[in-house]
């Protein structure tokens, strides 16, 4: 018995030693299939987007992004160019991220400098709950409440082809901005919270009032303000449900904000279901999707990087 036990513990020690030498880890082998499935999924997404859109890149070339002619045809290959929806995406996302960033800063300053503790304890979880609401809920609200308000406001008369329904670039940007504001507020708040307490004390000891403290502390975490704006932009650029319900769905350049229009995502949402009827349209929509993925991912990646840097900087108290 005894020698056996000894050998067992010896081999265990060996197992540990081999692990130290980073030989194939059984744990890694057990978990590998899931990871490989994940890699396969992401590879499939990339492959579908690239191969599916190849036809369009060959046919249209750079003109795909440089003009906004959208003429479907059932008989032959139509012309599908997406300058207008692409510009629409940028405009809607721009409006949304401006609104979200403004509200985010205001909310963060209110919660950290002005709100009594008890108010903060109620408001913060409520904002989390609002941030968790499904987008289609905001879409329905935008369609039924915000769009009619925009129509009644008469702002549409500022534009040549002002929207008769209230659905417009502006409406979509506004609703999306309000929807993602709690998320943006969380980004700013987190950085605000990361500023060491001793700076807050220093500001009080200098007699600074709420807005003066906010100015100094926001100055310390200004990276996070940019991060909130950029992250909001990335989210808004990919947002589909709300935009499709509120943007008005017309191929139209966003020269005037109160006209109906399209974003890339709303174009896909409204056209893709029937795209197989029109030669070339499916490929064009996949190409547009690829462009949208690039815009949205690039800004999300950048935003996350900025947010992390801002928090790190705030924690370290170093510039």
């Amino acid at each position: 018995m005894k020698p056996d036990l000894l050998r067992a513990s010896g081999s265990r020690r060996n197992a540990l030693a081999t692990h130290m030498r980073a030989k194939p880890d059984p744990l890694l082998l057990i978990l590998a299939p899931s990871a490989i499935a994940l890699l396969a999924i992401s590879a499939a997404i990339a492959a579908v987007l690239v191969t599916g859109s190849l036809d369009t890149w060959i046919h249209e070339g750079p003109g795909f992004l440089a003009s906004s002619e959208w003429s479907p045809s059932e008989e032959r290959r139509g012309t599908y160019r997406v300058l207008a929806p692409l510009a629409g995406t940028l405009v809607v996302a721009g409006i949304a991220s401006a609104i979200a960033a403004y509200l985010a800063v205001a909310v963060a300053v209110y919660l950290h400098e002005y709100a009594p503790r008890r108010v903060r304890e109620v408001v913060e979880p409520s904002l989390y709950s609002i941030a968790a609401l499904p987008t289609v809920v905001f879409g329905m609200w935008g369609l039924s409440t915000v769009a009619p308000l925009v129509r009644q406001s008469g702002l549409a008369s500022l534009c040549a082809r002002g929207s008769p329904t209230g659905q417009s670039f502006f409406t979509a940007g506004l609703v999306v901005g309000l929807m993602i504001a709690p998320y943006a507020a969380a980004v700013v708040s987190e950085a605000y919270r990361a500023v060491p307490f001793t700076y807050v004390e220093a500001l009080y000891s200098l007699g600074a009032k709420g807005f003066e403290r906010a100015r100094v502390i926001l100055g310390m975490v200004k990276g996070s303000l940019l991060a909130a704006a950029v992250l909001s932009f990335g989210r808004a650029a990919g947002e589909t449900t709300v935009v499709t319900l509120t943007v008005g769905n017309a191929v139209n350049m966003p020269f005037c904000l109160f006209e109906p229009g399209h974003t890339v995502s709303s174009l896909i949402a409204s056209q893709f279901g029937n795209a197989y009827l029109y030669p070339g349209m499916e490929s064009a929509l996949l190409a547009a999707a690829l462009v949208m993925v690039l815009v949205s991912s690039a800004s999300t990646t950048l935003g996350l990087k900025l947010a992390r840097a801002a928090i790190k900087r705030a924690r370290g108290g170093e510039a």
Binding site: R117, T198, V200, E201, Y204, L206, G207, G317, E318, A319
Partner: protein, 264 residues
């Protein structure tokens, strides 16, 4: 009146935990006053109770009276005015890292709209000179404060507080995070400043207290154990004093009023 600060029957609770228990001290004008004690005994709380920073903590409750230059800062509407002339220096150097050296010193006067332009330049220079930093930074006033070394940053914080032209300076272990050389410089500075300004110095270093202050208080578990001349308080070695306190507290069963760690 000869006293700068008079604290009477002050008790502070954090939630249900009592951090200060019936504390009374008297700080005479124009001197350095030391608050001594092991960590967690309530030194910092007492200091922050004087300029009301203690109210920033969650769930805090303050009872008793704090008079600064004769004004009851918790009840008298003139309290804010008086506290505007109270500066504070913290344990960790905390200049605002994104502001320039100049802006860090100027922030107090600017907030109060007290001085502008030339006058402000003069004030900043005066404060930096007083803090013994002027010669080192005079040609890089526009550089960010984060470029300075730790010791320089702490002197910058002193300059920031001096720019308020304070009658009272609160210092919370200002040398705790500095190397001995820089700590010695700060001590020199404290000595010089004390000729014009009343300074309350929180420290856990009995030797430092004896080097800088004549009077002080010894805090233990939220209570003032002794107050008066340091020569009297520290007639026995400090470590012996603390040992005796800890032993006494064990005999008393620790009566559970302060749950902070006791060890120095």
């Amino acid at each position: 009146m000869g006293e700068a600060v008079r604290v009477k029957d002050l008790s502070v609770w954090y939630g249900s935990q009592k951090a200060l228990d019936n504390v009374s001290i008297t700080v005479p004008r124009g001197s350095v006053y030391a608050i001594l004690g092991p960590s967690g005994c309530g030194k910092s709380t007492l200091l922050r109770a004087i300029n009301k920073l203690v109210l920033l903590r969650d769930g805090v409750r303050v009872e008793g009276e704090v008079r600064v230059f004769g004004v009851d800062v918790y009840r008298d509407p003139r309290g804010e005015e008086v506290l505007a002339r109270v500066g504070m220096v913290f344990q960790t150097p905390n200049p605002f890292p994104h502001l320039s050296i100049y802006d860090n010193v100027a922030i107090g006067p600017r907030l109060r709209g007290q001085s502008k332009g030339r006058e402000l330049d003069e004030l900043v220079r005066w404060a930096l000179e007083k803090a013994g930093l002027w010669e080192e930074v005079r040609d890089r006033l526009r550089k960010p404060a984060s470029e300075l070394s730790g010791g320089q940053q702490q002197r910058l914080c002193i300059a920031r507080a001096l720019a308020l032209r304070p009658g009272l300076l609160l210092m919370d272990e200002p040398t705790a995070n500095l190397d001995p050389l820089n700590a010695a410089r700060i001590e020199e500075l404290v000595k010089e400043l004390s000729r014009e300004i009343t300074i309350i110095l929180v420290t856990h270093d009995a030797e430092q207290a004896q080097r800088l202050a004549r009077r002080g208080a010894l805090l233990f578990m939220g209570r003032v154990v002794e107050e008066g001349l340091l020569s009297g308080i520290l007639s026995r070695p400090y470590s012996k004093v603390l040992q005796a306190l800890v032993a006494k507290c064990r005999v008393a069963g620790g009566d559970g009023e302060a749950t902070e760690p006791l060890l120095p």
